[in-house]
Symmetry: C2
Subunit: 237 residues, 2 copies
């Protein structure tokens, strides 16, 4: 089985249990959720793979109870599938579902961009500009993981700039759902250069307070990414 949290600096401790990072005031179930969601988003847990209550409980040195509760919480975010009396599995998304999800995501991110263009303040404009500069720099060095993270920050900045916390949360969730698949596509040939160019168009529209252009630029950006992702998957399956 995939080694959960293998990347997060020495998760395993001497007693054989993986640590849940001392997080006072947080329940075990919540800490487990964070750990497991991270592992899913990072791709350490294969989509479709079964989540064994006992195994996970033993791995983290807790009882089944908080593990089960964590599963229920993750079902909230559509990251795991609960089939009654048949256990929990990491949600695996078929190509058809990905198409559908990107269609929705394009609309939601497009709305974020539209609202951001209408509402963005000078401070936020500067923030977005700064993140974009970092992205350009990361694109030049070619460090894909750094690029991926800053790309995320760019979108996050636009979510915030929309000043619609519900929309921001909804879009974030959707983004997390497809994260495991998205990450793979960053490595495609011209993806980095394209992304930088598309982001620039989005940013310019927002800073120019042009809602419709921001909307369509973001929509196109997300749709292009979706197309790339589907091409990528088609090549493997």
């Amino acid at each position: 089985m995939a080694d959960i949290g293998a990347h997060s600096g020495g998760g395993r401790v001497k007693n054989g249990h993986e640590s849940l990072e001392a997080s006072p005031g947080m329940t075990l179930a919540e800490r487990l959720r964070q750990k497991l969601e991270g592992a899913i988003a990072a791709g350490h847990l294969e989509p479709g793979s079964r989540l064994d209550e006992q195994e996970i409980a033993q791995r983290f040195g807790v009882s089944r109870t908080p593990v089960r509760e964590a599963f229920r919480l993750m079902a909230a975010n559509n990251l795991v599938e609960l089939r009654g009396r048949q256990g929990a599995t990491v949600r695996s998304i078929k190509a058809q579902a990905l198409i559908e999800m990107f269609q929705v995501m394009a609309e939601l991110e497009g709305l974020c961009a539209r609202l951001a263009a209408r509402r963005v303040s000078l401070a936020w404009g500067a923030e977005i500009g700064k993140v974009h500069q970092q992205l350009v720099a990361a694109g030049e060095t070619g460090d894909i993981d750094v690029f991926y993270d800053i790309n995320q920050e760019f979108h996050e900045a636009i979510y915030e700039a929309s000043r619609n916390t519900f929309l921001a949360e909804q879009t974030r969730k959707l983004r997390n759902q497809v994260a495991a698949y998205r990450r793979r596509v960053t490595r495609m040939p011209n993806r980095i250069a394209d992304t930088v160019r598309e982001h620039e168009a989005i940013m310019r529209a927002i800073l120019a307070h042009d809602p419709e252009r921001a909307h369509s630029a973001m929509r196109d950006h997300v749709n292009l990414l979706g197309d790339n992702l589907l091409d990528f998957l088609a090549a493997f399956e």
Copy 2:
């Protein structure tokens, strides 16, 4: 406290426990979820009210375990709020949040309508037309509860016609979240007549395969409802 399921024909049985309807193959947690979500949507559980694990467990004659799991599952649909170690409450939506949610809902339902206009088949067109006829009839008799239900069916038909199951599910969930608030607004003065008129515009655009007109008609419809709802709330708070 509100009597959960008081409307669903004799929920209480002689042993003092409320029945969970024999649903073989379904877990208690799942049955509890359905019951409680129904009670929330119907407005029998006041938004903001605390959900007491013990009380609910006793009421249905089960242990706390499935009750807790049901709470976690409901958090998935944003119907309850879980504050760590401080219990679960029926999610109460502030006016500001309602504005934000309707903004998203208008976009999603608009997308449904747009896709429906592009993809609707003759059979589905007939179905939508039939539902609309029922709505007109219900509007004339003035039975508000029937009208509310058929209204729901009309929108549901459009979700299906979009042929995007993910979008349909997402929109449905959002609709459920605001259901407890929506229901109240149906009783406003001209709401029924307005709704019929707006639906007609939407339907015509869909049957004419005019995606943009369908989109904007639906968007306007949802936004008008949102405005009405906010007016209504403003009058009380």
